[in-house]
């Protein structure tokens, strides 16, 4: 029996945090690059991202041996802010804090415009403030992007050979998060019966990230096979091989990619069907979660 220091609750955190911030930056970037065409996506991204990050923070606190002392992460012995550059967790704490503040404010500017929030006291300060929204969105953006990377770098700054054996874990988690974020947006678009061509556009983006993720996965496995062969074997033909090959590689990456390419081809014939992008988005989300679970557990198995 292996001793697991970081249990499944941490895998859930790594997943929701990555997925959340990726949905957030996807919305802002899509809206910025399109010069304002995707405002609604930015809203959806923020509605997904901020609650997921708050949920992630709660998961992190629950997992602590002393949950009530969580504030030791941000305040030192002298009650002054504490930041430790060598500690990825310290960096992550501040990234999450900053994102929650700016992203939270950004969400409020959207919430203030919803019908059901009419009359809510605080929100009146956020109503019809396009400048404030823009500023808060751009302030939150870099923190969102860095959080997606940090979830992988956090694992890499440990002694587990699977995690520190390659320089690609931050990159892999960034890509996996981005593809999960895009998939979450696709699912919301499909659930709200949005325009098919819009879903198609996001599915195309998802396919591109999927390809990048596959490339990085191959690079990571090749590097791991030489730097930590025992860890690589755990995934390739050991205890975690079924989950790795079936859950992550086949159903989490290859099958959705094939489906997305099929969809690309069929869209030319003007027979766009949302079933394909929705199904591939679900598979990507499950695959992205399994990536965290498998890497988290396999990393601790031979540690």
């Amino acid at each position: 029996m292996h001793e697991i220091a970081w249990p499944v609750i941490i895998a859930i955190y790594l997943f929701v945090a990555g997925d959340g911030v990726a949905a957030f930056y996807t919305g802002i970037l899509a809206n910025t690059f399109s010069k304002g065409k995707y405002e609604r996506i930015a809203k959806i991204g923020a509605y997904i991202g901020v609650p997921l990050i708050i949920m992630g923070l709660l998961l992190l606190i629950i997992d602590l041996g002393r949950p009530l002392s969580f504030w030791h992460f941000v305040l030192g012995e002298n009650f002054l802010p504490l930041f430790r550059l060598s500690s990825t967790m310290s960096l992550g704490t501040w990234l999450l804090t900053a994102f929650t503040i700016f992203g939270g404010g950004y969400v409020l500017t959207w919430l203030a415009e919803e019908d059901f929030t009419r009359g809510w006291p605080v929100l009146k300060y956020f109503t019809s403030r396009p400048g404030l929204r823009k500023t808060l969105g751009y302030l939150a953006l870099p923190f969102a992007v860095l959080i997606a990377c940090y979830t992988g770098v956090l694992l890499a700054s440990t002694a587990a050979p699977m995690w520190n054996g390659t320089p690609y874990l931050g990159l892999l988690f960034l890509l996996s998060a981005t593809s999960a974020g895009l998939s979450s947006i696709i699912l919301i678009l499909a659930a709200t019966k949005s325009d098919r061509s819009l879903i198609y556009t996001f599915s195309k983006a998802d396919a591109l990230v999927d390809i990048l993720e596959l490339i990085v996965f191959v690079m990571l496995m090749i590097r791991l096979s030489s730097s930590a062969p025992e860890s690589a074997a755990l995934l390739l033909n050991g205890e975690f091989s079924t989950l790795f090959w079936l859950g992550i590689v086949a159903f989490g990456l290859v099958v959705p990619l094939v489906m997305e390419i099929y969809e690309l081809a069929s869209s030319k014939k003007n027979v766009i069907n949302t079933v394909v992008p929705v199904l591939s988005a679900v598979l990507i989300l499950v695959g992205s979660f399994l990536t965290r679970v498998v890497i988290l557990y396999a990393g601790q198995a031979n540690f």
Partner: protein, 262 residues
């Protein structure tokens, strides 16, 4: 003040586990419920309530079985990974080379547990904090040696000035080599110099020690570099490539493509 160190000579260890018991008693650590793990080794690993233990190794050498022992505990590294990764600033290095946890500051995030290259830290169920060997610093302050060193009946554990410990270890290694033993010193330069020096009579890996231990933060820069390069790539493809809009901003009045789906 001169740095202190412990010298553990595995060739003198008989696996009596007196050090384990002495550590538990002096530090008031609770017993841990364990099962049979297929060896006399018990508990099966270091934890928040077991700060030192003797590792039992069975090794076959040209048809002959060798029963090897190594007392393991925190190595008090100069480049201490636990101290580097701790976000709460709960870990300090003293000027005598000890790595000491401030239990009041620890939040029990277990980052140090996964960062330690020697797996010498564990979360205590009792306190909810990460704990490990602290070289019995209150004993040292009062002119005594750590509890484990005091209890050792064979002289396998000694404690004192690091320079002296190294000289002693090297002398013992040369004596053992004279007897044809494949002996070596471990800990002189690893991770900037450990404050537990081993006299080993075989390869470090046989004793469960990494031949070239690496600080947990060694790969940080490379990881960030690749991740940030990835950010650039992703921002370009798919985001810029797929979502960019040439020309002027679209008309945001009612009835535009996206808003129409709202």
């Amino acid at each position: 003040m001169a740095e202190l160190a412990m010298c553990v000579d595995v060739s003198k260890c008989t696996g009596c586990r007196g050090c384990q018991v002495a550590c538990k008693q002096w530090n008031g650590l609770p017993a841990v419920k364990t099962g049979f793990s297929g060896s006399y080794e018990n508990p099966p690993r270091i934890g928040g309530d077991t700060w030192t233990r003797v590792r039992f190794i069975e090794k076959e050498d040209s048809g002959k079985m060798r029963f090897l022992f190594r007392k393991e505990q925190c190595m008090h590294c100069t480049e201490a990974s636990c101290q580097a990764v701790c976000a709460a600033g709960a870990i300090q290095k003293t000027d005598r080379g000890m790595v000491v946890f401030n239990d009041d500051r620890c939040v029990g995030c277990k980052n140090c547990v996964v960062a330690c290259p020697f797996r010498a830290i564990g979360l205590s169920e009792e306190t909810g904090s990460s704990r490990k060997c602290r070289f019995c610093y209150e004993r040292i302050e009062n002119g005594m040696e750590p509890a484990c060193a005091k209890a050792c009946p064979t002289g396998a554990i000694s404690f004192g000035d690091r320079g002296k410990m190294l000289t002693q270890a090297k002398q013992r290694v040369s004596d053992l080599r004279g007897l044809g033993v494949n002996a070596r010193v471990y800990g002189e330069n690893e991770l900037g110099g450990l404050h537990v020096i081993y006299v080993l009579d075989d390869e470090p890996e046989i004793y469960g020690l990494p031949a070239n231990p690496r600080a947990a933060t060694a790969g940080l820069f490379d990881n960030w570099l690749h991740a940030l390069a990835g950010v650039g790539v992703v921002a370009f493809a798919p985001f810029w490539l797929i979502f960019r809009e040439r020309g002027k901003a679209p008309d945001k009045s009612a009835g535009t493509e996206v808003d129409g789906n709202a």
